[in-house]
């Protein structure tokens, strides 16, 4: 079978796939980047309460152009709305929700995930000039579940599903599920278990694109 027979999920495809698995009633933080797109793929009638670390619980859709409110932004500093039933809190209370274990889920972007659940998503080396930690370490440690959404491989084709993370860690043993452009993987005691593969890609082809050993469900 030719490798051109499959079509990797794009950013919205990954977001839509992850959105399928979020049930009504969960309190969820969506990280910057692809995870933020997940909100657009949750059906309006399914009540999922979105937390933004800048102190917004119950984030709604983007603002309408004719009703601007520059004082209401999400963690990506995009202008958003707040749903009826939402609440504004200060930064300590916002992170009390995160660190106190009150979020059912956070979905983060990732650079690398290891088979023991280690996550690297904030730096490519210990010495780079910029350091952008933000709320990722708090979310990775504090949420009840941590999912990661990311391309299965780097632009150069290098694997991101690893035996050990090479980049500086965000948190150890925190990830329970990974949504990539090619598959959905659970992180378990046995390592990565393949939950789902995109149409046209075989288990062996997925394994060839991963460094860690994958297991069948």
């Amino acid at each position: 079978m030719s490798e051109t027979a499959f079509k990797p999920l794009g950013r919205n495809g990954m977001a839509a796939r992850a959105a399928l698995d979020i049930p009504e009633g969960w309190y969820v933080n969506l990280g910057i980047g692809i995870p933020t797109l997940i909100a657009d793929h949750i059906p309006a009638e399914r009540e999922v309460i979105i937390h933004s670390e800048n102190g917004v619980l119950g984030v709604g859709p983007a603002q309408e152009a004719h009703r601007p409110n520059p004082w209401l932004v999400n963690a990506s500093t995009h202008r958003v709305t707040i749903r009826p039933g939402g609440a504004f809190v200060d930064h300590a209370d916002s992170f009390a929700m995160v660190r106190g274990g009150h979020l059912d889920l956070c979905v983060l972007g990732g650079f690398q995930v290891a088979e023991n659940g280690d996550l690297a998503n904030w730096a490519h080396s210990a010495t780079e000039a910029g350091r952008q930690i933000g709320g990722a370490m708090d979310l990775a440690v504090g949420a009840k579940r941590v999912w990661v959404v990311m391309e299965h491989n780097t632009k150069d084709g290098a694997p991101r599903i690893l035996k050990h993370c090479a980049y500086p860690l965000t948190a150890a043993r925190c990830v329970s599920r990974v949504y990539t452009s090619l598959a959905v993987l659970d992180v378990t005691e046995r390592g990565f278990i393949v939950v789902d593969i995109i149409p046209g890609l075989s288990f062996e082809e997925l394994q060839a694109r991963s460094e860690a050993t994958l297991h069948r469900a």
Binding site: W71, L72, H91, G130, A171
Partner: protein, 238 residues
């Protein structure tokens, strides 16, 4: 009669000394006290340590003039930033790379909790956030609930600069929507807490059940026009 309002920016900034630690709230520019930051730039104190969520946004090509935090850094007035973001391609990032600015980059929740701890009289606390990461370097580790936790210290400020939506003469404050962010906890953690407010209300107009920051945490208040936040896409470079 208690009246915490001051009449001028000079009065608001009076006594801020070289070497001070300055708490600066805001998420992007939302909730950031830009008028007071202008005042601080004018006032002249130097050798400052800034505690601020983000020490500088990306500089896009042909970007408009820097935001206020970047302007303080670019003026050589800042020796250190304590922050959760330093971007490589920002003013702060360039100064850090050149070895002219010290940066303590820490998790955002740890930043918030350290500030809150200072306001609440907690000198130190353990947290699992940052354990097993570069953030843990040099910090005491102890296990709680089966997880390694690191010891973090309270982070008080000599001065907190606060942006409020409404204030009364006792210093009771409310904030607008997500502009609340770091403002209440920084107001608590400042030894000298200076507020810019868009609106002034009579005592009692903020119902006792709706006060967000009680006046006990506030020293001086200056009325300034509403500080409409500029978003990154609009040229912000806070």
């Amino acid at each position: 009669m208690i009246d915490k309002f001051v009449r001028s920016m000079a009065e608001a900034m009076n006594g801020i000394r070289d070497g001070s630690t300055i708490l600066i709230p805001g998420f992007g520019e939302v909730g950031q006290p830009n008028a007071l930051l202008e005042g601080l730039i004018e006032q002249g104190a130097t050798n400052l340590t800034l505690v601020v969520n983000s020490a500088g946004r990306v500089l896009p090509p042909g970007a408009p003039p820097n935001g206020h935090v970047a302007r303080l850094i670019d003026a050589g007035r800042v020796k250190k930033v304590i922050t959760s973001f330093v971007r490589a391609n920002s003013t702060a990032g360039a100064w850090v790379k050149a070895g002219k600015l010290e940066a303590e980059v820490i998790p955002q929740g740890t930043l918030a909790e350290r500030i809150r701890a200072a306001g609440a009289g907690v000198p130190a606390f353990f947290t699992p956030t940052g354990a097993n990461t570069l953030v843990a370097e040099g910090k005491e580790v102890r296990e709680y609930n089966g997880r390694p936790c690191i010891l973090e210290l309270a982070l008080p400020g000599d001065v907190a600069l606060i942006e409020a939506w409404s204030a009364d003469r006792w210093g009771n404050l409310v904030f607008r929507d997500s502009a609340r962010n770091f403002n209440p906890i920084m107001a608590m953690a400042g030894r000298l807490t200076i507020v810019q407010t868009a609106h002034v209300v009579d005592l009692g107009q903020i119902p006792a059940n709706e006060v967000i920051t009680p006046g006990i945490f506030v020293d001086r208040i200056l009325r300034v026009p509403a500080n409409e936040p500029v978003l990154p896409g609009q040229g912000s470079n806070s």
